[in-house]
């Protein structure tokens, strides 16, 4: 058999031949964007939290404290990385690396504008889902390898929560997929040119929003790192740059969740007057603002409430929504 005729080889060489420069530029942009975006989001989070609680938030470094997180990042980088004596050394070292890779891979298929997408894939949405499911694995690694009660409880909660909320998340996305007949991010965006999908699928949008909040372990679903009871959950034992990687991953996952929300329900880069990139970024940051707003407004749920809500409310409603979508599409 001629091994060079494999589709995979053709793809790699096509990639190297024509799109190599585009790919290198795209990857560079992602690698620069991920830390900067996280730094910005941490600042936004602290500012929004401050204003909600009627205080100014960070004000010292730069105008309105905008450079605060950069200084914090420098501090984190120069800190000592401590490994607990009884920790599983290899897994303790591996966990922060495993958590950041899927967060970066997911950027490959996100369409920032009609032209700005590193790679269009037939399985775009599925790529994001399958790689973000690796995050739980790394949380478990971190929590278990730390050999610390708080970390382990945090990790165990993360696994239970993620298994529960991944199902309604996928089901709510499926109702969009059967409307567009495509997993391609660009085709889903193109299908929303006159009307956004949130108009047709408001229930799916709400389920999607709640599930992604739970999947990214944000309040009111942040039992994974509940500060008041678990110190800081699965990354209790992490210091310095390793801790920073967990932080980076959390905010990057938030960005990816928000951009999926924008692509699926808010028309992606569609919008009047301004270029697509501006619309996309505005929509994504607006969604992130809502996530932060929710965090500083609602109290944390109890764990049994969280699981009951997922299995007894979210999944049945998502299934019903999917069924109604299918029936309506068939009837039309």
């Amino acid at each position: 058999m001629n091994i060079t005729q494999l589709p995979f080889i053709k793809e790699i060489y096509g990639f190297l031949g024509h799109d190599l420069v585009a790919a290198v530029i795209g990857i560079l942009i992602i690698l620069v964007f991920v830390p900067l975006n996280s730094a910005f989001l941490v600042w936004v989070e602290r500012k929004v939290a401050g204003h909600i609680q009627l205080r100014p938030g960070p004000m010292e470094v730069g105008p309105h404290g905008i450079l605060q997180t950069l200084i914090d990042a420098v501090k984190l980088m120069s800190k000592e990385m401590i490994t607990p004596k009884l920790a599983d050394k290899f897994l303790f070292w591996l966990a922060p690396i495993v958590i950041i890779i899927p967060a970066i891979v997911c950027f490959v298929v996100i369409p920032f504008s009609p032209l700005m997408q590193v790679r269009e894939m037939n399985v775009g949405i599925l790529l994001i889902f399958s790689f973000s499911s690796l995050t739980v694995l790394s949380i478990l690694m971190a929590g278990w390898a730390s050999n610390n009660k708080y970390a382990l409880i945090g990790a165990v909660r993360a696994v239970a929560q993620n298994v529960a909320y991944e199902i309604p998340l996928l089901l709510s996305t499926m109702s969009i997929i059967i409307m567009t007949n495509s997993f391609k991010m660009s085709e889903i965006t193109a299908a929303q040119s006159p009307v956004w999908f949130i108009v047709y699928q408001p229930v799916a949008a709400i389920i999607f929003f709640i599930s992604t909040t739970a999947e990214t372990n944000r309040a009111p679903f942040d039992l994974v790192e509940a500060e008041s009871e678990l110190v800081s959950g699965f990354h209790t034992e992490y210091t310095g740059m390793r801790f920073a990687l967990f932080f980076l991953a959390e905010y990057t996952n938030m960005f990816i969740a928000a951009s999926m929300g924008a692509v699926l329900f808010f028309g992606g880069w569609h919008g009047p007057f301004f270029p697509g990139l501006i619309w996309f970024v505005v929509k994504v940051y607006a969604l992130i603002f809502v996530i932060i707003w929710v965090r500083w407004t609602f109290p944390r749920l109890r764990f049994d409430q969280l699981m009951n809500f997922a299995w007894k409310v979210m999944i049945p409603v998502a299934l019903l929504n999917l069924m109604i979508t299918a029936i309506v599409l068939k009837a039309l």
Partner: protein
Amino acid sequence: MIAITDIISPVLVARGAFWLMVTITLTGALLAVVPRNIVHNILGLALAMFGITGIYLYLGSQFVAMMQLLIYVGAICMTYIFAIMLSPPLELELPKRRKAKVITAFFVSLVTFIVMAQMILSYKWAPVTSLSRDWSIETIGQQLLTRYFLVFELISLLLAIAIIGAIMIAGLVRRKN
């Protein structure tokens, strides 16, 4: 103009990618069986599944590859972890490895390996230069709900029975306590 194929030979890349995936899969499989630490076993299994994802990508089926990752790494390994949470903690003394059990397990896997190898070797693999059919997501879905409908339904029945069985066992244990 120098083509990229002159600099890096496609055969080398294909061979390299294939053996990389095979190495990852086999390393993961060994890690899943050999160490005594059960969390290492699960992570080894996840690594093996990841390697298989790579093999699907190598064969050009992106959809099946993503499903492999989503279902096997994202869901099945997670369910195993659930089972581990119910197992005794690691600080306690591990039950000793019984020689008889190890030998039986080795024997069973050897027989399975021989049977499967025999099956694979006895089939006359014809060299294919292009895909025989359009294996897109639509084709897979169509085939699942027409030609392989019975198998598909039987598998779901099997899963349903497994779930009911698990609930029954859990319920019985709880009632005893």
